[in-house]
Symmetry: C2
């Protein structure tokens, strides 16, 4: 890989997500040469992927070119590459475009879907972890309706129009709400030849309540909102199998062309990290400085890092806000290191969580205040607009939301990918 060799120590960052982005932004390249590797040339704002999948936003407004973010940063190099393996002894990262030497290696490779060993589900469910997967999902949802128009019989038609979402966390709840709004406001006029009463949205959750990580109040409100929007809710329910045609739970079968998997994620560590360094949830065990256990100059942060604290004895949650904070934190520590100062331990500041269900329907848990409804919804929109990278993206997203709000519309109903899964193809490994 053509990276100039200079006299400064080289920090290699694997991944341009929230953690990697914040680290690269804040690290002082007077003291370090920084190389960032990512399989995409853009940063994805994952919390809004579900809006791309449901035609509410265009993909370009929730992604931001990584090269642009760092256009004026000296001694920073970005390379689009697939990461293959880390060799700790040689201090080398092997990638699809060659080897790269490092002085410090920071793993910020995030998470991928966890199917808990259910191969059938993995082979037939749609994940929604990347921009391209969201686009595939958007195409698939719309293609199903096109197909329903010439279905052989009513049962087949119903199956095409049935969407099962597994996982009652924020992603599942938000997706179920967005699908319900498509059903209420958009699809009836788009498909006058179909009876939209045949469209079913099911949300299946293994735990006894939705939004388990949020307050009881938020959880109950989300349930009420979704019920009011016509979503079929199945809590305390485990998915056992999915063959691409029928979803099987302990006590029933739901014929459905689409199963969207939002039930679990696990860390996505790089090959070459020893098994004993990987803990619960397939995450890399780090100390309070984000340093990997028994490793030299290897760091991990964000979803892929397992940092246990007194309060979070199963590790800090896999949230964007943890990743952002760890990215900025590690940058400061690197800057301290360069000046010969001591490392400071990471302290997670819980800023609260929120989820949106539909127009005027959201839930917000702040450390000392919990609320829901219209105000929560506006708070959700404001926070997400501010978190988006790039002014243009904010403006375009704002317009799309304002437009959708005034017109009960979702404008981006384009089928630009012809989604066809090859039999047994595992989509988590497909990046484009």
């Amino acid at each position: 890989m053509n990276i100039p060799e200079i006299s400064l120590p080289r920090v290699v960052i694997l991944g341009g997500g929230f953690a990697g982005l914040n680290l690269a932004k804040n690290i002082d390249t007077e003291h370090y040469q920084v190389v960032m590797l990512d399989r995409h040339n853009y940063h994805t704002f994952q919390p809004l992927l579900y809006q791309v999948a449901t035609a509410g936003l265009e993909p370009d407004s929730i992604a931001y070119p990584l090269r642009k973010t760092f256009a004026n940063k000296k001694r920073f190099h970005f390379r689009m590459a697939e990461i293959q393996e880390v060799n700790e002894e040689q201090k080398i990262v092997r990638t699809s475009i060659g080897d790269l030497r490092y002085d410090h290696l920071v793993m910020a490779t995030g998470a991928r879907s966890n199917y808990f060993g259910m191969k059938n589900v993995e082979a037939n469910a749609m994940p929604m972890k990347s921009l391209t997967q969201s686009l595939d999902l958007r195409s698939m949802i719309l293609q199903n309706f096109e197909k329903a128009l010439y279905a052989q019989d009513v049962a087949e038609q119903k199956r095409l129009m049935t969407f099962v979402i597994v996982g009652g966390g924020p992603t599942g709840v938000e997706l179920a709400g967005a699908l319900a709004e498509l059903k209420l406001h958009v699809l009836p006029t788009d498909y006058p030849d179909l009876d939209l009463r045949d469209m079913e949205i099911h949300l299946i959750e293994a735990a006894p309540s939705l939004l388990a990580a949020m307050s009881k109040q938020a959880s109950q409100k989300a349930l009420k909102f979704l019920e009011g929007m016509g979503v079929n809710l199945w809590v305390d329910t485990l998915v056992k199998d999915y063959d691409g045609k029928t979803v099987t739970t302990a006590d029933r079968e739901i014929p459905a062309e689409t199963l969207i998997w939002a039930a679990g994620v696990m860390g996505a560590p790089v090959e070459g990290i020893q098994a004993e360094k990987i803990g619960a949830g397939n995450r890399i065990i780090v100390d309070e400085n984000c340093q990997v256990k028994d490793s030299q100059d290897i760091w991990a942060m964000g979803d892929v890092a397992l940092m246990q604290t007194e309060k979070y004895n199963r590790g800090l949650p896999m949230l964007g806000s943890v990743a952002m904070q760890q990215g900025s934190y590690l940058a400061k520590n690197f800057n301290r290191l360069a000046k010969g100062k001591n490392l400071k331990p990471f302290k997670y500041k819980d800023k609260g969580t929120m989820a949106t269900i539909g127009r005027n329907r959201a839930v917000v848990d702040l450390p000392f205040w919990k609320f829901s409804g219209t105000m929560a919804w506006f708070a959700w929109m404001f926070v997400h607009l501010m978190l988006l990278v790039g002014f243009r993206n904010r403006v375009v997203t704002f317009i799309n939301w304002a437009w959708g709000y005034l017109n009960y519309d979702r404008s981006n109903r384009l089928i630009v990918r012809n989604f066809r899964r090859k039999k047994g193809e595992v989509l988590d490994k497909v990046h484009f």
Copy 2:
């Protein structure tokens, strides 16, 4: 195909381009049942495809869902389908989703790239006739720069950074200008590790001048603009071969990873139309009423129709404005027919032509006034904004243009498709 049989005559429109769209909008469905077929579920605003290819606009802002346009039109049915064949005797269209009976058939299937029989060029060039092709081109351009970073030698690096555009019509000129602006304003900061002086843009045109269909003044101005922006111009030059690595003309070879074909289009008639009804440029011969020669109840309009007039003895030009006018015209004629009135012949009203080369650089030919420069550029933007379908698309496009103007930026530099052409794959036949 599940289309209800009612007592009104059925008009089947093949294609949702400018012509099909305007026909369907203006035809009176009190008198007709209308079915529109298109392989995409959206209308594409083709004049701005080059901006998608050069990262200036997101795909979603130049496309518009066809179902949305006709959401409130009664007795109108849209079906997403691949058209396979017309059977004039049985009055049936065969498609990928079944057969469809028609009373009137309107062919508005547009044009596709014409490689003048050069199989090698067809197998290796990039066309830019659809939204998905533009996205492929955007990905390919950016991927080439990513690859150039780890090229084996300088020659290979240069080849990856060389873009040859064949065809000096509006598409070729606009594309060359947009690439030149990427080179000037965007790529140097995106790729500090590359020497952008190695990026070459070649525009090859067989005729002695650019923009041959426009005035001499416009043609000369465009040439001057492009030269000033560093584009290598080759007029009076024929491309003879392209093997994917080297472009061969009569007197030189240009090593280039990318050849973009904007040199010619031909009609894309449906299978089943008899050979004697197809004239110059592979277009279907129609009379002054858009009726197909010696056919019963078959009509053609837009690029696929060859309508010869006194002034245009080689047929009306393949322009969006002809297609739009013919669409509205044919709707009026159908409405007249329904009321037992006579058909009126089509009269083309030349409203002028324009092309943009770069910021503050455009050329406009109006029937009685020709101008260029900043004012022409603003006129071009205004006209194209107004022609875009959908208010949201206009606003989003306006913001992108305003943003690009103020910041010398092209925001949509995302590689969302992994473009890899299979050996010999002909891209005109790939729709997604």
